[in-house]
Symmetry: C2
Subunit: 144 residues, 2 copies
DNA sequence: ATTGATGCAAAAGATTTGCAAACTG
DNA sequence: CAGTTTGCAAATCTTTTGCATCAAT
């Protein structure tokens, strides 16, 4: 999906909800979608300010919250009290390995893993809507 | 495993590491093991203070960190910046299915799932210390 | 006696909030 | 215009840290 197209999706969502499509919301969404790297709220603030320094930290947090609620962006705990976000709109599902030493995040997909989850859920008559799998530990550069 | 026995395990661990077995460490470990419910650092401080109010918040955090490092207690991010801990010593590892309708939490274990995670990590040279798998959806009483 | 552990209060980091001013529909 | 949204700074919340004092070995 093109960047413009993604922004349109967000704009439509906002308008449908009766929310206003302001220049800072557009800027923040644009920055958030500009990469598939994981970014902190502060990283996002920096990205925005490179383009236009009339964006406040508060607005970044407020907008990020909306994007997360809408499912356009996903926040993940880094295990040390912080959170990183990632661009989800238009991207496939994947799980994460989080290095608790350097903070690196590795994305991976394992079909077998997905299948086993379904199997486990079936045993309990549980219907999975979404799931979150995070492996915490040391990445190959940080293990001793 | 009996409570006394669990405390002995912790005491032995501490002594082996050359750490001191103080009255507050015993108190904190005792409180942390008194339940299998999830508790925050603050909850734990309260639990401790009901028994003896000569425990400081700082010591609770410091001790909780050790118990976590030792694998006696496990911390989980609550997604809102906070963390909850749970008694793990003497309890089997398990993952969670969370019913987003009624809030029921089902604990489950699947050996194959555990094995696949290790396999996936190995591919990236990643060393797993802990992991968190949560399935969100509808439990059998809530699915339509 | 040593040396690690504690308590306190201050510091730090991340996120939220109150409010007047600025902007959108 | 009315009602939202913004920026700023102050306020929260959770966790960590410096340091003088206290206690375990």
């Amino acid at each position: 999906m093109e960047r413009e197209e993604e922004l349109k999706v967000v704009e439509d969502y906002m308008r449908e909800k009766g929310l206003r499509w302001t220049s800072q919301r557009r800027l923040i969404a644009d920055a958030a979608f500009s990469t598939h790297d994981h970014f902190s709220a502060d990283d996002l603030l920096d990205m925005c300010r490179k383009l236009d320094d009339r964006v406040s930290r508060a607005t970044v947090y407020r907008t990020l919250g909306m994007l997360e609620d809408a499912g356009f962006v996903e926040g993940l705990d880094t295990g040390d009290g912080g959170r990183k976000f990632e661009h989800v709109l238009g991207h496939e599902h994947h799980d994460h390995m989080v290095c608790t030493n350097c903070g690196t995040i590795i994305e991976f997909v394992d079909e077998e893993l997905e299948a086993r989850q379904e199997a486990a859920a079936k045993k309990f008559g549980f219907q999975i809507k979404t799931h979150s799998l995070k492996l915490f530990g040391a990445c190959k550069d940080c293990r001793e």
